[in-house]
Every structure is written in C-alpha cells, then in structure tokens.
Symmetry: D2
Amino acid sequence: MVIGAKPPKRPFASDNSAGAHPAVMEGIAAANQGHTLAYGSDPWTDRLVEEFSRLFDTDVATYPTFNGTGANVLALGTVLGPGEAVVSTPWSHITVDETGAPERILGTKIIEVPSSDGKIAVDALASLDHLRGVQHHSQPGVLSITQVTELGTVYTPDEITALVDASHERGMRVHLDGARLANAAAAVGGIESLRAMTVGAGVDVITFGGTKNGGLGAEAVVVLDPDLAAPVPYLRKQYNQLASKMRFLSAQLLVLLRDDLWLDLASHANAMGARLYEATRKIPGVDHPWTPEANSVFPVLPLDVVSPLQEWSFFWPWDPEKGQVRWMTAWDTTEEDVELFSLGVAEIMGS
Amino acid sequence: MVIGAKPPKRPFASDNSAGAHPAVMEGIAAANQGHTLAYGSDPWTDRLVEEFSRLFDTDVATYPTFNGTGANVLALGTVLGPGEAVVSTPWSHITVDETGAPERILGTKIIEVPSSDGKIAVDALASLDHLRGVQHHSQPGVLSITQVTELGTVYTPDEITALVDASHERGMRVHLDGARLANAAAAVGGIESLRAMTVGAGVDVITFGGTKNGGLGAEAVVVLDPDLAAPVPYLRKQYNQLASKMRFLSAQLLVLLRDDLWLDLASHANAMGARLYEATRKIPGVDHPWTPEANSVFPVLPLDVVSPLQEWSFFWPWDPEKGQVRWMTAWDTTEEDVELFSLGVAEIMGS
Amino acid sequence: MVIGAKPPKRPFASDNSAGAHPAVMEGIAAANQGHTLAYGSDPWTDRLVEEFSRLFDTDVATYPTFNGTGANVLALGTVLGPGEAVVSTPWSHITVDETGAPERILGTKIIEVPSSDGKIAVDALASLDHLRGVQHHSQPGVLSITQVTELGTVYTPDEITALVDASHERGMRVHLDGARLANAAAAVGGIESLRAMTVGAGVDVITFGGTKNGGLGAEAVVVLDPDLAAPVPYLRKQYNQLASKMRFLSAQLLVLLRDDLWLDLASHANAMGARLYEATRKIPGVDHPWTPEANSVFPVLPLDVVSPLQEWSFFWPWDPEKGQVRWMTAWDTTEEDVELFSLGVAEIMGS
Amino acid sequence: MVIGAKPPKRPFASDNSAGAHPAVMEGIAAANQGHTLAYGSDPWTDRLVEEFSRLFDTDVATYPTFNGTGANVLALGTVLGPGEAVVSTPWSHITVDETGAPERILGTKIIEVPSSDGKIAVDALASLDHLRGVQHHSQPGVLSITQVTELGTVYTPDEITALVDASHERGMRVHLDGARLANAAAAVGGIESLRAMTVGAGVDVITFGGTKNGGLGAEAVVVLDPDLAAPVPYLRKQYNQLASKMRFLSAQLLVLLRDDLWLDLASHANAMGARLYEATRKIPGVDHPWTPEANSVFPVLPLDVVSPLQEWSFFWPWDPEKGQVRWMTAWDTTEEDVELFSLGVAEIMGS
C-alpha cells in the first residue's frame, strides 16, 4: 500500500514535534542582552512571577523549570508529606511516562485507581479510604490529575472542584499536571475557565506547560497556596531543575502569557483537532470511539493500514492490538496539513 | 566610598551571567524549522553524537542535558554501584552547590577528602582504604574531580592520569565535572589537551559544560566507556533531564563544537582573566594569593572596600572573613570591561 | 448475636500472632553465653551460612535480617539494576503492605500486573514487552513472586520454572518472597520441593521467612547465585537490617533448620488450615470460594455475622463488602482450637 | 610476644559483644505466651509506651525498633524537612558507620562540622549560617548529637541545652543519638540527668539504646514533642523497622526500664571503664590521652604490642597509625575481667 497523496508538512505525531513560535524566539533573542544575574535573580523572572499572579488573579508562587517531568516531580514534592503516596490514574504521565522519576526522586509510591477515560472519579478516592490510618500502607496524600488528560479528555471546573473537595476532606492535597492546561482552558472557555479549574477549584499546585504550546522548552510550577512555597527553591535545585540562565526560560513564558498568546495557540491546536476529527470521521473504515475535546484524536484503523500510513506521515500507535492510534495537532498545524492528511487517510482506506 | 569611574558593561559576577553567543542563537533559530521527532530522535542530536566522538577521537556516548547539576547527577548515576559513595573535595560543586541533589536522587553519600587548592591528591584516595571491605561504611566507588576546579586551578593531564590509575586500581570509576572543561583545555593547550585529560587519562564519564561557555542552556554527559552507557537513557529521564524538544539543546552544542568555537570562547575568557589579574595585581592593597589558571581570579581586598565595590559593579564574595572575593570573566568579557573595572578598583583603593 | 461457645485459645488472626517455638527460645538462650563478635562474626552465623547451603544443596550466600519487609527490600536491591522496575501482582506484600519501603529505599517503581489468584501468569510478562527499550518507561528488571501467595495459593515448581525462564529470556532477575516459603514447601512435598521451586527453577534471590513459622523475629535473604552477593553486606546495613547481636537471629534460624523443624511446623500449620476448612465447609451459610492450599482460609460469611464472630475470636477481614474474611493457622494451632472455633461459627450461623 | 597470663573471659571489644542480661531473657520468655496481635497492638508495647512517658516525666511517643541505625534513620526522618540537611560531627555514627543509610533512605545530606572531642560546639552552628536562605545549599535542618559521643565523651545537660537553643533559634530540630544514653545518664547523675539532657534541654527526638546495655536487640525512637509523631508509624514500616512480633522488643525494654535496671547496668559498665583506666594508667608505656567519661577507654600503646595484645584478647583499633586503641566495657564486665586484662597489658609492656 503506497499512498500517492502529498503528505502534510507537519505530521500529527505530537505537539512536542513542533518547534517554537516565532514570538517566543524573538522573546529569547530580546532577553539575550548583556549580563544579568543567574538562577532567577533577573528582571524577566521577576516579571514572570508577577504575570502569573495576574493570570490567576491571586498571589501565586511561580517557579520556571526545564521540562514537564521536572515540573511534575517538583510540584509533587511540594505537597507530599512523609509516609504519603500519590494517587493517579494508570494512564497518568507521572506513572507511565516518567521512567519512575517520582519514585526515584521523591521516594514515593504512586497508587493507581482505575479510569476508563483518563479522569478520576470522586468515588475512586473513597475506594482508598481503607488504607488510611493503617501503618502498613502508604497514606494517600496527594491526588494528581492531568488536564487535558492523557486520553484527550478535559475535566470541567466542577469536576475538579468536586475532586479537590473530596481530597481536602481527607487531608490530601491536589496537584494538576497541566502540560496541556492551555488546551483545556481553551476547550472549556478561556481565562475564566483556567481560573475556575485551578484557583477556583482549590487546586494546591500545578504544572503549567509551555513547551508543547509554542515554547522552546519551559514549564512552570505554580504554587497556588503560597504558604506551601517556602521549600520550593531548594527542591527545584535538588531535583535538577534550576536553570542558571533562567532569563531564557522566563522570557519564553512571558511571551506566551503576553496578550494571551498561550490561549490563542491552544485554541488553534484544538480547532485543528476538531477539524481533523471532522475530516476523517466520515471516511469508511475510520472509527472514532472518542470525540476529541482538545488537540488529540484517537481513531481506530484497520490493522493493516496503520504501518503504511505511519510510513507516509508519522504518528504514534495508542493501542496496537486494536488498531487505535493517536493523531495530535499542534500550535502550528495548518488547515492544509489537516486536509492533506485526511486525503491520505481516505486514499489508503480506498474511499 | 563612592566610585566615580564608569562601571564595566559586563560585571565579573559569573560566566553564568553572560548571555548566549550570537552563533548559538543563530543555531537555535536554524533548528526551529518545522516538525521533528521529540526526545532526541532528531537530526541535530544525531549529528551531535557524531561530533562528540570526533572531538574525543573515539566512540563516546553523548547525552545532552539541561544543566550542570543534572549532568553531574546523571554522570555519577552512570558509574555508581550499589552501596557505594562518591569521593570529592569539600569544595566540589556536587557537595556544596547542588542542594543535595546527588544524595537525594542517587541516595549516595559524598565523602569529602581535604584539599587546599581544589584538587585531590593521589594520597587522599589511600586515606580511604581503611573503609574498604568493611560493611559499616559506604564503599568509595566513584572519584569525582572538577576541571577547572572550584578554586580556579587546573589539573594537568598527568595529574588526572595518576588519579584515574589510583582509582581504577581500587576498583573505582572516575567522573570529571567539566562545567568549565573548555577553560581547562584552553589553559593547558587545546584539543589535544582535552583528549589527554579525559580519554587519554582513562576518565570514565564527564560532564561537558556548554552553558557557561556561550550556550543558552545546554550541557552533555559524555560516557567515555560506551559499555557503561546502556542505562543512561532511562536514568536521564528519571533524573528530569530528558528534553522533549531536544534539537534545541543539540543545536547549541553543535554550534559550540563547530570550528572549535568552544575552545575560542574559553581561551578568550581565560585571557581576560589573566588580563584582569595583571591589571589589578599592582594596585596597592589588592592581594592575589592565587595566580589565575583559567577564567576566575580570587583577590583579597581590604574588608571595607568589598561592599562599595560590589555596589558599583557586582561580584560574589568567596571568603568574607578574609575579604577574599571572586572575579570571573566570561566568553563576552571585553578588554574595555577589564580596564574599566580595574580603574574602579584602583580608585577605591586610593591609588 | 452473642456466642456462647468457648473461644479457641489461639485465634485465627495471623501466624504473626503466635509466639516463638520453645526450641527457638532454647536456641536463643543457648546462644546467650559470654561475648562474641558482633555484626555476624560469630559461630552461630557461620554455621547458619553452611546450613543454608546444605538446605539448598548448593553454595548460597545467606544474610539474616530482622523482618520480612527488610528482607524483601534487601533481596530486591540485590538484583535491581539502574532504571529498572519491579514487577508483581497488585496483591503483593511489597506493593500493598510495606508502606512504600521499596519505592523509598530502592527508588524503584513497582509495576503491577493483574492476577486473580495471587499468581503471575507467564503471559503477564509479555504484556510489558512494549515498555522495553523505550526511555520513557522504567524497564521491567525484576519479577517478584510470593510463595505462598497473599491469596493463599501455592505455585508449583513448574510454574515458577516457567516464570523464571520467561524472565531470564527478557534479561530480568527473579525474587521470591518466601515469608511463608516453608508452608509452600510443605504443601508441595518437602525439601525436594523447596529446592525445585527455588534453585531448581533458577530463582535468583529469595526471602526465607522464619518469624511466622515459629521464630521470635528472624528472616534471611538467600542469594542463590553467589555472584550477585558482593554488595549485599553493605546494602544490608544501608537498609537498616544489620543486627549487632546477630547471633540471636542466626540461633533462631539454626533451630528452625535443625532436624527440619521448619518443615514440620509449616506442615502442621497447613494441616490445621485444611482441618479448619473441612470443619467449616459444611456449615450452612459459610461459603468457601477458594480451597486452601497452605495455612490460610478465605471464607465468605453473611455480612452481619462477621463483627460478632470477630468480637468472640478475632480474625482479619479480607474483602469487607463481600463478607470475605481470612482465617489463618499457625505453627501452634491445635486441633482443639479448630474445633472450638468451628463450633462458634456453627453457633452463630444457627446450625 | 606471647602473653602467658590468662585472658579475661569477656574481652573489651565492644558492648555489642556482650549477650543479653538474664532478666531480659526472662522477660522475653515471659512474653512468649500464646497469641497476641502483631505489629505493636499488644499489651507489652502498650505498657512500654506508658513506661517511657513515666521515665521522661512527660508524655512522649515511643516506637520500638530493631537496631540503632534504624532508630537513627527513623528519628531523623521524623524531624527532617524538605530540602534540609542533617548536621553532625565527622565522628558521628550516622555519617561514618551506617553505610550511608541516612543518605539512601532519607535522601539527605549530612553536613559535618569539625570537632576534636566528639562534641559539637555552639559556634559550629553559626559557621553554617551562610548557607541559610541560599537555594544552592541544603538547608541545615536537624542537628544530630551523640550521647555518649563516639569518642567516649559526655555532654553535660547545659551543653545540650545550649545546642538546642542555638538550633531552635535557627529553626532547626535536634536529634540525640542515644545508643549509649544510659551510660551518659549514669555518668552525669541518673534519671534526673537523663531528663535534664533530653526533655529539659528541649531535644526533639531521641534514639534510646537498649541493645548495648543488656538487651538482645531493641532500641526505641522517643519523640519528645508528640506533635511530631503523627507520621512515625508509617515511616517506621517504610524504613524496615516495624517488628511483627513486637512484644519481644517491648518486653526487652520493659525489663530494662523496670527498677531502673538500665541505669544500674550502665553504671556498672562505666565503673568498669573507670577501673580499667585506673588499672592500666600506671603501666609504663600505656598512655591515656583521654580520661574516660563512660564505658570506653582510648589508650595509646606502642605500635608493636597492639597485634599481640589483640590476639591474646581482642579489641578494636581506633587510630592505627598512632597506636590508639579502644577498650570498651559492657554491662557484664567483671572486676576479674579488668584485673586479668590489666595483667596481660602489664606483662606485654614488660612491667
């Protein structure tokens, strides 16, 4: 099976495959002027800290980090107490895709509770109550949820509020892994939604992703309850996440926050995801078991077309036995990319 | 005491205070073209791996990382065995300036052996022999040396060879923290010296610094014995050091390696250090207990001039009680910077 | 509901609730004569090392430890490589009942594979093959199986052999948590079975339980492949498991090994388990979904009888929603204990 | 050099070489009656908790553990905060003799401050103040002192009070490693001294040693500020220190606390230490640079007599190059042991 159609310029492998937005590159270049103190004592970082408080409309403590795994480990370390475990779904990035970084660096267990759609249900917390107060078990101490989830679903602010309430009632803190938080905010309704699903919901600490959303490489740990922030600077260095030339991380995030670029880029990626879904759902043989809520699409394809399609324009498998694959749009995906890719899919499906 | 002279445009606080070299910025911009696979499956990283083998004139395994602490922890994790400790001077960055990252992430002890000049003497290893084979003591497993040392001194290739031999005889591996390895190579004699003090000496793994030497933020762990490299990819992610858009790290290092830019920048910084030493050594009241070997100068000043001088043009104290301070040059320090700064020093010293 | 019958002298809560066998007490007292060197340099420990090699009919390296969690962590630490995870069922003691000790001390992840009967199937290992060689995932490095399993089932030597083969093919090592290995050996056929399910099967390291089987408090890590043993003495101390007055641990285990007392005690406990099963299976309302294979019985009772029965003679719940409970026999359970307890069960069931 | 004199029945190698006191053995045997719940839910442990509050004349939280390393790690883990380091002398058991257990299990750095006599001076804390608030350094969080120190010296209650005050002023907590706390209390003046040097001084958590002082193997972590105790049960299991048949640990400690046996045994050991010092100080060639304060004596001998003397009646070297050795008395050392040993020393010294 060879596909004659022209492949898209930007495949649908991952938003990590995209480069940096031109404005981000300009922001970095603009920060590259002369000397400034290292390790965060620079004007860009100072401004960034202010901008994040503005974004969340409350005083938050913000710590730029290099990457998402580092940000997640730092965020978890900020809210994890002695003898405690982290609770997440079996799909979570922290338990599946971080090569055991939380276990290694935090010395913690991650307790997985079942989930069919990437979200945790409030009931799942109750299912762990029998562990409480029993010295033989790691105590559930931190709930970690991912927004957008690893399965492409998006929590509503109400869902997160309910989870936070159920956690706080149990003395647990809540971490939100927001590697794609921008896409979630865009999906739900913008800045007010962002606030509602974080500060409003009572989340304690978040990972705010910048890299996948037009950054070169920059994330931030945002501690929403500043009372928890005192040890974070030490932990950031201890976990290998303190940048010497931090201005270049902060400058990236400043550009993303400026004029809500972060939201525009995420909205665009989401729109391209919806478009890809629409463009392929009517192709006979393409099954979409899930409706995309953000920038990832998880179709099921006939087993024999997956490899040739990947060779033509690469994407990652999801559930190889079922033929389920993942198509992911990015901040720079174009309508033409979607169209070309859909044509290729249609061609290989013989329609 | 107010200094009337004009301060230098680039203070002497740290080579970390400098920005990125223009060619590095161009290299990053050139890498920002379209999509490429994330996490190191990109052409820039592929080429970088080849370039490092060319640089060291032997097959080495190279892993870009975000920062020096991360690189050091990864390098140590690569060569540390169960029940083993790391041995270093009490001045080493790994024991003093990394907020306990090696202890936290590797679960290891760092055994400090005395050193007056930042170097470890061969005898120091013998002083730990009584620990060997005794179950109550962490076993000295890895010698970690820093080149350029934290006190600005530079090991000769022969000195390193002797330390490696003494280590290997004891079944220990050797890590070289080369955050400023470029400056050391430049100080001793260039590329051949680099090879002599690493591969030639038998060092097992090195941290190769790029950030302080014109980079935006990029280091590399170079495993000189590729037999040790198998677990490194997993450890890199586990220690929070796997970049998703790795091309932007690799592109920086590629520019530094191209046409030996790394060596030129380091040579320049060293020359400015020597110049600063020469320009200030004759000023009455300025005592230079140590002769600079690379890009740092450690003069002793009268206690009452330190603060006013710092306010005029910032630098870091070294031994505050003695009035010893650290002046550090960078890849972008100019002759004019040195001259202006020296004039200010002379003015405050009343000469 | 009040039970009129006389409760058994020894309830069925746990084999941990039993005391030490008189011969063990005598062995300890006999070892309490004068001075001997600490930390294992004593004649009792020397003899114990020999006795274990005799027991397994091959040279093994034996390290007494204080408790089962410590022994498991030490055994896992002996065979776990860098970047690797442990694989077990979700029922395993190491993942459920050790308060995260392996994660904390070893910095490792435990990957749970489904199991309905406490055993791991060979297929379960294949289900993890997609993790291999991918830097984002902890690499399955050690298979940990429990014998007797936490659900009271017993692996046959052939089943273990198949698991070891499947593990070794994948470059994995195998740990056997034998907190109740004696009961398993007794269940399958004695010393030859013990050898067949460990050395014969190719297991790499085992936890050999003594405490539950008549000891006062003593376990042993037995490294079946002595090539792996070099770092164990250091790890034992590092993991808090080095006894200063080790003779008192070794003396316990020596008594258990003498004249196969370990096997006799375990056989007796198993026989009492079978007897308890037989004595209660015909009582209307008592459902035995599982047939006991060793010394634990897991009946399902009407929900309303559980509490009164526990108050009369304590035992632990297993699956409270279903009314499943656990009755466990010990080395000192008597036929009279079984009879009295069965009478109480019958009384409360109204028969 | 062969010594003709009869060697003492109990050499002076270590108080760890002694066995258990007969009353301790009886206490264990008495606790070996029937079934009781495991893991500390037993009457012996309940009583022990009360007895410790009585001993310290205030409500304390007491946790029996297996050994001193485990107790130290647990005690440190109880009071150590995120990003913090432990401060001790370079002689401390935790940094020298625990094979890196604190670093491995707690992920912490131990910062060593100089000490000539095994004690920490208040000034030493001030020498670390430059680390505070600087994100590159582990923050001094816990002061760990040893009483009796590893060099055989004893802190006065006033000295400890001053250290605690200086620590608390800095926001640090204080751990007292009391593997030989009984000997210290006996040296200073008994129970009131014990209280003065712990509760009175404001110490936060202690390791209370039982093993060296007539126990079979039992220590306790005593949390003097019960507000800190909440996570300790989980940490105890996580650090491999939860005994299943805990009654046998508690029974040992109960016997030691009964009728102040702990104090009598320690007083006796101290008296034997003083006697050994007196009996050997006048022997020409035996130099006693230090006056013994508890149960250890550190004489300097001519280099050529050390080995023959050790062969005749074993003891451990201390500083082999200087010929300094350690002679340690125990709860069961007799006057005859001292006399016989002194005769041997005199014989080999030719007097």
